[in-house]
Amino acid sequence: MNTIPIYTTKDFQSDQDVRWCPGCGDYSILAQTQRVFPELGIPKEKVVFVSGIGCSSRFPYYMNTYGFHGIHGRAAAIASGLKIARPDLSVWVATGDGDGMSIGGNHFIHACRRNIGLKILLFNNQIYGLTKGQFSPTSLQGQVTKSTPFGNIDHPFNPLSLALGAQATFVARTLDRDPKHMQTVIKRAAAHNGTAFVEIYQNCNVFNDGAFELWTEKDSKDDNVVVLENGKPLIFGKNKDKGIRLNGFTPEVVSLTDGKYTTGDLIVHNEKDSMLAFILAGMSGIPNLPRPVGVVYAVEKPTYEQLMQSQIDEVATKKRTGDLEKLFNRGETWEVK
């Protein structure tokens, strides 16, 4: 039996110079990933990072694991093939809001649907970084970018809703500026069986600086972020004095101090409730609600690679392991002398 070596963060740092702009949120994502990996209990050589193209997609070069820097938008498809061929590997996808949601949107939703064992980290900076600042499908309406000098008229995706709508079994959100939280979420994603989708709010300080300030800055975040914890009511605020309750199906903020509502009135998070998951994901689209972060949804469902293996086993049991020689000679054949 092999034992897994005891790793440190260093073991996951490759020898390549990290080439993001100083101050870029990508550094934190890299650091947290490198910090978390020693704890996952996966042999380093069993880990593969697959990416597309974008600033975020440079990620694999910096991880001292196997790495595959693909072409724009195709990371999920490449990774799917790899995972199906090699279910023993731990396959991670590092992608951007352009790479994963624009050109790569189809592979993304199909990976979710199939519940293939990929861990997809979406570096959402609401901009195309590498190509120097055009809008992305997560850019805000009205956002002025290089390709929308008069403001963006596209309505953005909500990545969590999209993943849920595509039948994802694990959906989470975290932030570049909250290292501890990100570490927890990455660990949860690693532990999930099937497609795990993590949206990471990532600041592009060059082309979209401050996009997530409200939810990352010291003085505003407590009042604008609600951290989801399974089984716990949705409470937030600097003084833990606010909560989220449902009005019909629509979440709303209530005060826990004005006597009208108590903790008992609040939504209690249940990771396994797919309908609640949609409600929580949808909060990003409603003004004045705090932004939920954490694991929004997590259920177990047979993975694609498990189903494939069962089918292989089943067929092999019924029909024995295939013998090509016999196959070729099966059915109508005849001898020429």
């Binding site: 490759s14 380093k44 498809a77 799917s80 199906i84 090509l324 020689e325 196959l327 002398k337």
Partner: protein, 611 residues
Amino acid sequence: MNKITKNIDEVTIRFAGDSGDGMQLTGGQFTTATAFVGNDLATMPDYPAEIRAPAGSLAGVSSFQINFGATEIRTPGDKSDCLVVMNPAALKVYLKNLREGGSIIANADNFADKNLRLAGYESNPLQNDSLGRYQVYAVEISKLTQNALKDLNLSPKIVDRTKNFFALGLTYWMYNRPMEPTLKWIREKFAGKEDIIEANTRVLKAGHAYGETTEIFTVRFEVAPAQLPPGRYRSITGNEATAWGLMAAAKRANLELFLGSYPITPASEILQELSKYKNYGVKTFQAEDEIAGITSAIGASYGGALGATNTSGPGLALKTEAMGLAVMLELPLVIIDVQRGGPSTGLPTKTEQADLLQAVYGRNGEAPIPVFAACSPTDCFDTTFEASRIALKYMTPVIVLTDGYIANGAEPWLIPKISELPDLSPTFVTNPEGFAPYKRDPQTLARMWAIPGTPGLEHRIGGLEKENITGNISYDPDNHHLMITTRGEKINNITNDIPLAKVVGDESGDLLVVSWGSTYGAVHNAVETKRNEGLSVSHLHLKYINPLQKNIGEILSNFKQILVPEINLGQLIKILRDKYLVDAVGFNLVRGLPFSAVEIEEKIDEMIKRG
């Protein structure tokens, strides 16, 4: 009755009827019986256009052609000698493919008003004299079938469904084929349904007896067994052979086979065939589109499988960008393009050879990929196996071109012994010492292959230009030039690894006809005919389109004229003219159909005359 038996060398029969008339089954059974007597053969189904049309309509006609003989058979036949038609539409569609003086066996019962109208006949061709140039046998097949089954108490629908066996029995009699294989098949296929077995058996025999006893048939034909290499044979279509070629290659490479695919006519059967073999180390992945088909296969190759993807022209177009990635990554990958009529959606169910330039040149940047072409259904096996060999040995994607004609066509295949096929096992690096992802084998220039899961060899690859040896990203100008030329050289090196080309006929002379892909059979036959007539003409067939074999230039230089027939507007010819500066002449008919030998023969005559 006095029946004459004529000995003939070669016959072509076409069974044609409505989509619901079971013509493919009939043809298949005729094929089995023909193989059984030891003739060489080739077959070709012709399906209606993609969407099923109303019964009896021209668009709904389905047919199956078989060419068999006592000598080597290379095509499913140009014109048919005998046309079996179950309705007027079938006659209308295929009469032009019947040779003058050929026989027509028609189900007279179906030549009634409505069907005649649907086929666009104003009057019944069986009854007017429009078919004077042919030998017409108007047989009341439906009625005779009903008669044969009268006492069985079957529903009229079921009775009607057996009528193709009547036609089959009749042709068995005419061409002296044994009924036993079909009778056996009926017993196995319908095991448990005794009434159906009985019905089909009776009708088959009734058809046979009809030939034997009625007066209208006076001649039957005898086709002697062919001299085929000894061994065990089976019938195989091009698409089956392609699928099996991949399986055999993976087996001999000791790798799992991974097919990333998206359905498209006429390539879907390869996916469908391989999806049956879960227990053979074959994984098929029906992806969301062609791009995911190829990129998933690249991912699988990266993981150490034999990655493959299959498609037709429009799908190949979509895979273009990813092919460039495979070139950059230098990973093995087999890309199968079953060509069909283009451009765009074009003629999806028809054949064409117009993807050659796309396969050779259709990528951004300098992205050389070997391109091999199969020339017949069984050659699909060999070509796919050979493509896998080169892909694994040279760490490169390889494109295999087949086309709708050979993909759907079938011929007898001498079943190989798996253990006697070449060993294709790659060497996975496991020793970290001296490892660098772009370190190359000095002879082949193939790079080292280390797969995920190997401790100590963790490394990163990608589509950006990479530094020689280390594989790190490099923007250095000279390195770029070096890598571009190295990748080119690697592909050119393959010429050292493939056999020299062989001319059929004299090594020099007045005219050389150069073919590639599925035109092989027609060209071969035409050149043979013309050589027998004493013309100075030879034949060169190219399986290797890129790189070309070493001796092609020399061969071309030995002929006064060069003719390149292609089912496109001239594609291979561009490469030959560019590379060898020879004034080759193209012969181009783009009609969604294979060439007939006669067309080539006429062109040969014209060229020779012109001198």
